[in-house]
């Protein structure tokens, strides 16, 4: 028994020392939870370039949406299953990526804003992020009307963001642009201010251009609000508006994931595989080039393949026993070059240009046409409508004649002049022929529609819904040159077009208490829409 007790004591001692060992080595043994796979934070310098590139990718999706609904593109031969693209009877999942990707991207800009808000050295980064935030919130409002703004982008602090009324968002983002310009001006006075440098893949660190972009975006906001929002400040800073194309280019090249996103979608993949062949130009759009509405040989040839005989279609028309719809060539009808070897194609004019082209955030042409409209309405006083209109057409020719490397193919100035003489009686081309304000507005918006064809198509779609230009004729039996509405439209609107998208299914699932209900794609208007 005594021996046994001894054994028990020994045993207890062994066990106790074991437990002690366990306890002391515990922390060292277990503190291994540092993530070797991903970083947990990044600086503004690292977030900004990716965010701007994401903006280009997102604008590419917006361009697709604008082109498909807004009359630039129709279904091509060889494809079916277009569903709601034909009926416009949208479901929540149609184009839902526009909503979710916008907020995903906005979180990146918001992170820069949060990280730099109290550091004067990072004034430029802070300002740039605010400008981009403003741009994307306008895109959201223009697509969805009321969206979460005040409560949005707060992560775990607000799981169920409420929806902010669209005019309130508009006012706030206009203020944000003023604040951004003030930030840049304040930053210029800070000696240790961190330059944007190579992180700025839009303007290469040129802060004046950023301020011009801010002014131009503010002009876009004010024009679209059309007197429905009372802004705090409707004047623009002395930096003026953009006079050159604002192109995002992180160094696009023919490589895995590194191509210009529009090229990647419609042209060829970096391996030479064909892009999207399911779409082709509309008969409605070609009519602005082929002489049916306007003669525009210069830009027609710069943009379209096989112009002026480029095959076209009206949305909804499919190949059947009496009609054959042409199938799209590899590289799409929006790539004009006859050199069409996928692995080396590129270096062309028009809207796709090549894998290395910069992506248009906002072109000079759009800036000028907005100035023209602003001048027409007394919002802009630095130019006249006629001058800006003329500059807009020239800028459009210039952008479309520009090759990916920035050099210009042909003579845009001369061709822009020819354009005026080719359409001597057309008030949509020769501004002087437009006498009433309504005609002038129609000329401006129609020219903008032509200039933004497959460039920033969603802006044209916004303008159409706001102004009704370019004009469509929707009476029964309207031809494909008169309307771009689908042949299978289920829209109840007079123009047979939809007016908006539905909120995405994720909002219905995760924010159902707040998401607006009873939204109709035909009758729930964006606040500025007709």
């Amino acid at each position: 028994m005594i021996k046994n007790m001894k054994n028990m004591k020994k045993l207890t001692a062994i066990l106790l020392s074991g437990v002690m060992l366990l306890a002391t080595s515990c922390d060292k043994y277990l503190d291994i939870n540092k993530n070797p796979n991903s970083a947990s934070s990044a600086t503004a310098e690292l977030i900004l370039p990716q965010a701007l590139n994401y903006t280009a990718g997102l604008l590419n999706s917006f361009n697709t949406y604008g082109a498909q609904i807004g009359g630039y593109s129709a279904n091509a031969g060889g494809y079916g299953g277009f569903g709601t693209a034909f009926t416009y009877n949208f479901s929540a999942s149609d184009y839902s990526g526009l909503f979710t990707s916008s907020y995903d991207l906005l979180e990146d800009y918001q992170t820069i804003i949060n990280q730099t808000s109290t550091d004067p050295n990072y004034s430029y980064y802070n300002a740039v992020a605010r400008i981009m935030k403003s741009l994307h919130f306008q895109q959201l409002v223009d697509t969805y009307n009321d969206v979460p703004y005040t409560d949005a982008l707060q992560g775990g602090l607000k799981f169920l963001p409420t929806y902010t009324s669209a005019p309130v968002v508009y006012k706030a983002i206009a203020d944000e642009l003023d604040a951004a310009i003030a930030k840049i001006n304040a930053g210029a006075a800070v000696t240790a201010v961190v330059p944007l440098g190579t992180s700025d893949i839009l303007f290469a660190g040129n802060t004046t251009k950023w301020k011009q972009l801010a002014n131009t975006l503010k002009l876009r906001i004010i024009l679209r609000a059309n007197g429905k929002v009372t802004f705090s400040n409707t004047s623009f800073s002395s930096d003026g508006f953009l006079t050159a194309d604002a192109l995002i280019n992180p160094g696009y090249l023919r490589d895995n994931g590194r191509q210009n996103p529009k090229w990647n979608t419609w042209g060829w993949g970096y391996t030479g595989s064909a892009g999207n062949k399911a779409w082709m130009p509309t008969t409605f759009a070609r009519a602005f080039y082929d002489g049916i509405k306007i003669t525009d040989n210069g830009r027609g040839k710069a943009v379209y393949y096989q112009f002026p005989t480029t095959p076209t279609n009206q949305l909804g028309q499919e190949t059947n026993s009496t009609v054959t719809i042409a199938s799209s060539p590899e590289g799409s009808f929006w790539f004009p070059s006859s050199v069409r070897v996928g692995a080396s194609a590129g270096n062309a004019t028009g809207v796709l240009k090549g894998p290395n082209a910069g992506f248009p955030l906002l072109t000079a042409a759009e800036s000028y046409f907005m100035q023209a409209e602003g001048a027409l309405k007394g919002i802009v006083t630095t130019t006249t409508a006629a001058t800006a209109f003329s500059n807009g057409i020239k800028a459009s020719f210039t952008y479309l004649y520009t090759l990916p490397d920035g050099s210009i193919s042909g003579n845009p100035t001369a061709d822009a002049a020819t354009y005026l003489t080719d359409n001597p009686t057309n008030a949509l081309v020769n501004f002087g022929l437009a006498t009433t304000t309504a005609q002038q507005l129609e000329a401006i918006i129609t020219q903008k529609w032509v200039a933004l064809n497959f460039v920033n198509s969603e802006q044209s779609w916004n303008d159409y819904r706001r102004t009704g230009y370019p004009k469509v004729i929707s009476t029964a039996g309207a031809t494909a040159t008169q309307t771009f509405a689908s042949k299978y439209s289920e829209s109840t609107r007079p123009d047979k077009l939809p007016t908006r998208l539905l909120y995405p299914p994720t909002e219905g699932s995760y924010n159902s208490a707040n998401v607006p209900k009873g939204i109709s794609p035909y009758t729930s208007l964006i606040f500025w829409a007709q």
């Binding site: 366990l22 291994i32 070797p36 970083a39 990718g57 990146d108 979460p148 399911a278 692995a343």
Partner: protein
């Protein structure tokens, strides 16, 4: 002990007078393994004084008359009664395990007698496991254990299985039972990579309490697999060969009346869509048997054609699979050591054309005693498997289902040489030839597994053991997936609305390893106090490390088209890397108190420390207790009962924590953006996941009560258990509104409940020398619910499709439920249709359409032995649940779906529909005559969203019956083998698995066991383009030497 017993038997033998013509009977007694049994008592029935004992060679000599009965009895073996008919009588005794004293392995590798255990457990023995010759252990276990649901989630070769005990507890974490191999925790993938022939037995610990000593992973119950060891004094060599055929057991139901075409090509005078020679959709006219062209003419002017009638090509596409399995094993043992060696080779050709698989497996197990105090046990196995399959099963199947039934699919196999099968000449410009797709998209995978386990046990004094154990499981994997290039001719690209585009070649290649190390150290102390009290105490610690790494590289646009090497691409290759390291420590104590061999109290407690959680939350403690009371030993009236042979009551309570989280999950992440870096410019983006700051373990609390009752000398055995568990603090990744800036949130919230009844009963109505019949039933009732998630999150997506339909966890509903779109209905559930168009309307939001978890499971098994023949069968039923078949919308799209021809493609009145009653606003009247106009055509009802987007159209009953196993075995009697001196045993058997399946009537699609979300997802209830389910049938011949 054995010696003492048979001496007693001899002593008790009393003299008795003998009659009649007495002669000397000689013979030999051996066990099932043909080893001689020494000391077997041989006596004449009713004449105990004649008892003799067998000698060391198992031989005996006894005097008896013809017609007498000899009784052969031996401790631990069933007594045999043999009629005297000849002078030489060789007898084989079979081992009999007294159910009460059967020793089973429980948590931690500790052995306990069955009667001491107060929680539910089942044992599946080797012969039952391999009866159907499943090449995977999971397949062999299906339907054999109460409370255990094993679902074959994918089909195909070496399919994945999902093993869940007692329902799902964790909302989004792991719910699969823990797998323990020779006392070492191993990843559940090992279930498909062990040789089932190596398994001695599998103990299933249904509840978390029973398994608590294994640590937090055991909250889902555990399967304890013990592999074979050599036996003292027995040398045995075994060899067997099995050939198994595999064929499709259930095809999706397709319509056989209409072929290619549709209203897009115009309509005929009857309103049917016109025929089209290139259309994939089957909305053309009814079959007329005429010869029709197929596809546009080729460049050479030739044109494919077909007779416009039904061809069974959709079924013939799937081939007959073949599995060849070779087994070899040798075992040996003496007083100090044992050895078991086995090797297995499995070679499989699947039902998908050109899918092949093989697996080779070797195992070496042994024990060694050193001196009187040290025992060393080791078990090691090495497995390698190789897959060569198509990587495009889903698209291949979709393309196949998009071929009209007037096209004989099997004609298009030779796509290399047959110009009409070649992608250039294939009739359909939109959906490629499935034979081409499967050949042009390949995946090769290799996996090498090593599992090893060494244990050293030191017993300094009797009753006190120190055990140290080291286990390792390591997997080494590599894969290469490739897509071949194809350049279409210009003619093919531009003929008749073609959308054919060149395919560029690509390849992805990767390697990974994962290693799990597990150390155990424990001490066990056993002692009996006085005569009535016993104590068994265990104190121990466990250390576990899981480490893995994977690296993947991919290249596209391969320059030399058939060189599938990542250095052969254009542009920058894609590259990825992932690392994983987690550690866990546990300290545990376990005590079992016994009183008089009929009352046992067992308590255990374990504390875990985990690396994955924040330091302040990383430690947690969980206790368990159970009680076992053997009434049949405690009460004299039961002890002496002729009816009740065994009655045990048991009860247990437990709490177990589980960390359902990978490492590195506590901090937000930022990622290199798509395309970045561009040259030297890097760019990072904020990840989309939010993490709540202080995550804690999930806690499962539960109890179980039950009894085991055996009647009539164990002729009837039964176990009944009721269990109930609640799991709180769920670690959940939930979707959040993207407007927060994020798309998901990881947080602790929610509670689930699982309760149910497990009943196992077996009856042996006939047990004679020649006949032995046992039949049984295993029934499980499961009520598995989500009690709450959180106020903010009323429902949680587990696995969903783009439109939000799918498998969801919803508060106060079964876990999980199928949600999706339905038609708008009136209060009584009738579909409301428009009074003019006859068309229904899709609901605005998703709603609950079904319960995805089987409420009732029933297995019926039986074994009938007549002399040397044994027939056994196993049926399994699951019922009371539904499934969403995502193949359905695709089949309706293509027009091959059975539903699309329900009304002969004519106008029809939507069944069970109502229309608004114009006289009574808000009321509805039955719709008897308003027809849906467009029941035909590829823009008609069947292809429209109003049919295909309505989830409820494809939610069907998931109920099924399956004949899981049927086998007949013939043990070649010893007398036939006597001539060859070296063959000791030979068995010939024929067996089948899943031979018959009976699905619910409305299930036109596939096996409800499948899960599109994969075997590890809790989002069950969804099926898709998995290959159709298989039946297996084959034969085995095995020898023992």
């Amino acid at each position: 002990m054995r010696k003492l017993l048979y001496t007693l038997v001899v002593l008790m033998s009393m003299s008795i007078v003998s009659f009649g013509q007495v002669r000397t009977i000689k013979g030999k007694v051996s066990d099932q393994n043909a080893a001689a049994l020494q000391g077997v008592t041989v006596r004449l029935q009713g004449k105990t004084e004649k008892a003799v004992l067998t000698n060391t060679k198992g031989e005996f000599e006894i005097k008896a008359q013809n017609g007498d009965f000899l009784l052969f009895s031996f401790v631990g073996f069933k007594t045999e009664r043999v009629k005297v008919a000849q002078a030489i009588m060789n007898v084989t005794l079979t081992e009999q395990v007294n159910l009460m004293d059967e020793v089973v392995v429980t948590a931690g590798g500790v052995k306990a007698k069955r009667k001491e255990i107060g929680t539910a457990s089942s044992i599946v023995k080797a012969e039952s496991l391999v009866a159907g010759k499943s090449t995977s252990i999971a397949g062999g276990l299906q339907g054999k254990v109460a409370g255990l649901q094993i679902s074959n989630t994918g089909g195909g070769i070496n399919p994945n299985f999902r093993l869940v005990l007692r329902g799902q507890r964790s909302l989004t974490g792991n719910n699969e039972a823990l797998l323990v191999l020779d006392n070492v925790i191993v990843p559940s993938t090992m279930l498909g990579n062990l040789n089932p022939e190596d398994v001695e037995d599998i103990v299933v610990l249904n509840g978390s309490g029973a398994a608590a000593l294994y640590g937090s992973q055991a909250s889902n119950g555990a399967l304890i697999v013990t592999t074979k060891k050599g036996k003292n004094g027995v040398t045995q060599v075994g060899f067997s060969q099995t050939t198994t055929y595999e064929s499709v057991a259930f095809f999706p139901k397709i319509q056989e009346k209409f072929g290619a075409g549709g209203s897009g090509y115009g309509v005929d005078q009857f309103g049917y869509g016109n025929f089209s020679y290139l259309e994939n959709q089957s909305y053309g006219p009814a079959f007329d048997g005429s010869k029709r062209p197929l596809g546009p003419p080729l460049a050479d002017g030739s044109q494919d054609s077909t007779y416009y009638r039904f061809y069974p090509g959709h079924n013939d596409f799937w081939e007959k699979g073949l599995i060849k399995q070779t087994d070899f094993n040798v075992s040996n043992g003496d007083a100090n050591s044992t050895l078991y060696f086995s090797a297995q080779y499995v070679d499989q050709k699947g039902t998908t054309p050109s899918d092949v698989y093989n697996r080779a497996n070797v195992r070496l197990n042994g024990t060694r005693r050193i001196g009187n105090t040290i025992n060393i046990t080791y078990s090691t196995s090495y497995t390698q498997n190789r897959y060569n399959t198509t990587s495009a099963t889903g698209s291949m199947y979709d393309q196949m289902l998009n071929m009209p039934v007037n096209v004989d699919i099997t004609r298009y196999k030779d796509w290399h040489n047959d110009k009409f099968a070649n992608p250039n000449g294939f009739y359909n410009p939109w959906y490629p030839n499935p034979y081409f797709t499967l050949a042009n998209n390949r995946a090769t995978t290799r996996n090498d597994y090593l599992t090893a386990n060494v244990e050293i046990k030191f017993t300094p004094i009797k009753g006190l053991d120190f055990v140290a154990r080291q286990g390792i499981t390591t997997r080494n994997n590599s894969y290469k997936n490739w897509t071949g290039a194809f350049k279409y001719t210009d003619y093919a690209k531009h003929t008749d609305g073609s959308s054919k585009s060149d395919i560029s070649a690509s390849v992805s290649d990767g390697m990974s390893y994962s290693t799990q190390l597990l150390n155990d150290f424990f001490t066990q102390y056993k002692h009996n106090y006085f005569t009535d009290y016993s104590l068994n105490v265990i104190l121990g610690g466990q250390w576990q490390q899981d480490q893995s790494k994977s690296v993947g590289v991919s290249a596209n646009g391969l320059v030399i088209p058939d060189l599938f090497n990542v250095s052969n691409g254009v542009g920058t290759p894609g590259a990825s890397e992932a690392n994983y390291l987690s550690r866990k420590m546990g300290a545990y104590a376990d005590a079992r108190f016994g009183y008089k061999n009929y009352l046992y109290l067992h308590v255990s407690g374990r504390n875990d420390w985990v690396s994955i959680l924040a330091p302040e939350n990383r430690t947690f403690f969980y206790p368990a207790a159970d009680l076992s009371f053997i009434a049949s030993d405690a009460f004299d009236f039961l002890k002496n009962s002729n009816t009740v042979s065994y009655l045990k009551f048991r009860a247990g309570v437990s709490k177990v924590g589980q960390v359902n989280l990978g490492p590195y999950s506590l901090l937000p992440t930022v990622y290199s953006g798509s395309g970045y870096p561009f040259g030297s410019q890097a760019g990072y983006t904020i990840g989309n996941s939010l993490v709540s700051p202080s995550l804690k373990p999930e806690i499962t609390k539960g109890y179980e009560v039950g009894f085991d009752l055996n009647l009539f000398s164990d002729r009837i055995t039964s176990n009944v258990t009721w269990f109930h568990t609640n799991t709180v603090n769920q670690t959940v990744t939930t979707g959040v509104s993207q407007t927060t800036g994020f798309s998901s949130l990881l947080t602790n919230t929610g509670e689930t409940m699982s309760e149910g009844l497990e009943v196992t009963t077996h009856v042996t109505p006939i047990r004679t020398k020649d006949w032995n019949v046992t039949v049984g039933a295993i029934y499980t009732y499961l009520n598995n619910n989500v009690l709450s998630i959180s106020n903010d999150i009323p429902k949680l997506s587990l696995a969903t499709y783009g439109n939000g339909s799918g498998s969801w966890a919803v508060a106060n509903k079964p876990f999980p439920v199928i949600m999706g779109y339905d038609y708008k209905r009136d209060g009584a559930g009738h579909v409301i249709v428009d009074a003019v168009t006859g068309l229904p309307t899709k609901s605005d939001t998703i709603s609950v359409l079904g319960n995805a978890v089987a409420k009732h499971k029933l297995s019926l098994d039986g074994s009938i032995r007549y002399k040397s023949f044994t027939l056994s069968f196993l049926f399994e039923y699951r019922g009371g649940y539904q499934i969403y078949n995502s193949i359905g919308p695709g089949m309706d799209w293509s027009g091959t779906g059975w539903r699309t021809a329900l009304y002969d493609r004519k106008r029809f009145v939507f069944p069970n529909s109502v229309i608004a009653d114009p006289a009574n606003p808000g009321k509805y009247v039955n719709n008897t005559n308003i027809e849906i106009a467009n029941g035909n055509g590829n823009n008609g009802f069947w292809t429209d969203g109003i049919n295909r987007d309505v989830t409820s159209n494809y939610v069907t009953s998931a109920d099924f019956w399956k004949l899981r196993e049927l086998s007949i075995a013939y043990n070649v009697p010893a007398k036939f083998l006597a001539k060859s001196k070296f063959i000791k045993g030979c068995t010939i058997s024929a067996q089948g698995r899943n031979l018959m399946v009976w699905m619910a009537k409305d299930n036109y699609y596939t096996d409800p066991e499948y899960s599109s979300a994969g075997s590890t997802s809790n989002g069950i209830g969804l099926t898709g383009y998995e290959v159709p389910p298989s039946r297996y049938y084959g034969a085995t011949v095995s020898f023992k030497f």
